[in-house]
Subunit: 199 residues, 2 copies
Amino acid sequence: MTSPLLPQIGVDPPERGDAARNRRLLLDAAALLVAERGVDAVTMDAVACKAGVGKGTVFRRFGSRSGLMHALLDHTERELQQGFMFGPPPLGPGADPIDRLIAFGHARIAIVEVQGEVQRAAENSLEFRFAAPARAVSVHHVVSLLRAAGVQGDHELLACSLLAPLEATLVLHELRDLGMSVERLGNAWEDLIRRVTRC
Amino acid sequence: MTSPLLPQIGVDPPERGDAARNRRLLLDAAALLVAERGVDAVTMDAVACKAGVGKGTVFRRFGSRSGLMHALLDHTERELQQGFMFGPPPLGPGADPIDRLIAFGHARIAIVEVQGEVQRAAENSLEFRFAAPARAVSVHHVVSLLRAAGVQGDHELLACSLLAPLEATLVLHELRDLGMSVERLGNAWEDLIRRVTRC
DNA sequence: CAACTAAACGGACCGCGGTCCACTTATGTT
DNA sequence: AACATAAGTGGACCGCGGTCCGTTTAGTTG
């Protein structure tokens, strides 16, 4: 993975022309496969074949299936990051930190509703579940908001614990298998945040 | 009519002798492999070979690798259940529900410390991560304690959200990758419970 | 004991994720 | 234009999880 999520920090050498072209081909092929045959149909062979390249190339570009899925989510993830870092309230700066936390959860749940299957596939790998830059950004964001809300304690761990119930796999389970509504999940999140930040 | 009297509803027919014998052989083989070569060495072929049976038998008995791992954890899981259902306080009945919740989390974290790798392998399958009977029991237990503690709101979802940060994969990440101590995790859990149940 | 049946067995087989490495090509340099 | 070389490529190959189905066996019935 040579394209970190938001923080464009560090200077990685530019990609060669053909490599960039193939990355696009592969991403398009993968997105197309998701759209028309579902996420399970996105095998590395199928993507390679559809993009007209060899299988090795897929792995060179994305490292693993989870990495490919992660790349597929990159755009949405960036949008969310933009939203809570620079966008309008209540998600962005300006609103009460507690309201921002609530909005953050709502946004995440909404994303799961749309891209949950792909997110779940991406979460299969430890690397992209916990060590991904995107996650670090989220954790840091929640930590900041907790601090801003005047919450005392172990912010880092509290943030991890609050993010845990937003994991795509769990949310998807609650939505699909348990038949819960997005509204219900949103309300529960808001309730959780209010409880945690109260006092 | 040769049908047995009182057909024992809800009780599935007993296992055949050879099947029971092979289950034991397989579980022993798997446990041995974990102990001496780590959880990654527990491939279905290796277990089958070590137990002296065919690969198909492993799948017939346990359904999947996750199922096998789950079976490996069964004993510990039952002990925990016994502990919080019938054991002494603060885990068992008699103590303040909030203290019982705290003790429950501590117990789970302690288990992860010992069997985390196997738990993580078991969590790989959706089936055993969310649909397992053991999980249902845990959820129900937490719901009961929340009610007993006088907490208002969506107990079901709150329980799910509280259990999420106790998932082995996450706890293992916090312990191993982030280098956090068991004490710190325990404190964070206690803090979370106190916040959620306060007011 | 013989006959019968449902359960258990085993291993060939499949598809997928992932690795490897000999080969090709884009790009900067002289 | 020729060259050097780092980067990119592709597909054969591997191991594993999981399936399938013809064969074997435990337990039951008369």
